[in-house]
């Protein structure tokens, strides 16, 4: 079975209006730039997007926001995005803010076949509203449900044609859990190699989780907060 797709346009071809999509990345680091561009081009609408952040006005998921493709955003932090704020205040966009660890863990739960998980985060806050609280060993935990996502779109550094993935540095972030959690997982990679070229001992995402893979092009890798020190 061939998992290799020609490009992002082919890989996202069957994503329809109303789909729920997980999107890897932390800020602009490790985001699937090619697939975002393809989704903007395809102009698919009413998307529910599960991603830690919502990009910036003119990059990342911000491009889909600008194109008014999102119905709902599930994220932990959505600052740095004026268009997001406008759509939220005007009621065009629904947003669900959840703790970052809870977001990661709800993805992980889906990938590990766990229907729900207990977490300390958010106990006693408005995040707990309507959720089951349960005490274990004297501490309260919230019951949080695994995500259910039609697609997961992730960005890796290297991948092979069997779908095995290796991420680079902190561009790993949410990508591995999302790759495990999608009903259909699409991976874009900087380098696509033959099976056997990656060391089987150091693969982050086994190919069993990856349904489609393609070699991305033209990565901009924009830096959100360039911070440097002076040379002594």
């Amino acid at each position: 079975m061939n998992k290799v797709f020609k490009n992002a346009d082919e890989a996202v071809k069957d994503i329809a209006d109303g789909a729920t999509i997980m999107m890897g990345g932390f800020g602009l680091c490790g985001i699937p730039e090619n697939c975002i561009a393809a989704l903007v081009k395809k102009d698919v609408k009413n998307i529910t997007c599960i991603s830690n952040n919502a990009g910036v006005d003119d990059f990342g998921i911000g491009l889909m926001l600008k194109n008014r493709q999102l119905k709902k955003m599930i994220a932990s932090y959505v600052g740095e995005n004026g268009e997001f704020e406008r759509q939220l205040l005007s009621g065009e966009l629904d947003v669900e803010l959840i703790p970052q660890g809870t977001l990661a863990t709800r993805c992980m739960a889906a990938g590990y076949g766990m229907p729900a998980v207990f977490t300390l985060a958010g106990v006693g806050t408005e995040v707990a509203a309507g959720k089951e609280v349960r005490n274990f060993n004297g501490r309260d935990y919230l019951l949080e449900m695994a995500f259910d996502s039609d697609f997961a779109i992730v960005k890796a550094w290297k991948g092979d044609k069997a779908g095995n993935l290796i991420y680079k540095e902190t561009a790993r972030n949410f990508n591995p859990m999302m790759a495990m959690a999608g009903k259909i997982t699409i991976a874009e990679v900087e380098e696509l190699v033959e099976p056997g070229e990656l060391d089987p001992n150091i693969i982050h995402t086994p190919g069993i989780y990856v349904h489609r893979i393609f070699k991305g092009t033209g990565y901009e890798k924009r830096i959100e907060n360039r911070t440097v020190r002076k040379r002594g």
Partner: protein, 218 residues
Amino acid sequence: MALTKEQIAQRIAKELQDGYYVNLGIGIPTLVANYIPNGINVTLQSENGLLGMGPFPYEGEEDPDLINAGKQTVTTIPGSVFFDSAMSFGMIRAGKVDLTVLGAMEVSETGDIANWKIPGKMVKGMGGAMDLVAAAKNIIVAMMHTNPKGESKLLPQCTLPLTGVKCIRKIVTDLAVIDITEDGFKLIERAPGVSADEIRSKTVGTLIVDGDIPEMIF
């Protein structure tokens, strides 16, 4: 005289112990990294997936794939390790991070903290703060003692939406080091030249002043 932000960070750095794994929030907490005492080994955790965070890169050496939780370009050090977000928060929830330092808008005398949302203002989200305050073994808040209007940020009860309940143990402000005890805020140290009375006057809520309170030494 009230401490500068750098001095608040410097004071907090004295709480660090050899072998500590530490998560530093954005703002004043980040500055703590500049004052790690000589002779001890402290490893910085960044919740986006890095343990062993190094200094900012030299100009021209920025790596877009290597950032911290504040989305700043950073570097690694010998012994650094990368991992995914689930493991990162897993290690936080499992109590493996020894100390978390973060900013706050309000802290209550029972240790509640509010630092993510102001009703009526655009909400940016809690990021990892709720996970950190719920699960870290030991949390120090770094903040100014009063808000820009001069009102105490230490309160009997928080008025803003909470980030976490009964989780803060210690507060270091520009005026004081305060422990949160079963009986309320307890003054531990004063900023140089700031009197206990001044601190009391700028603190809403029970402030226990037990005997002579030493000045901070830098």
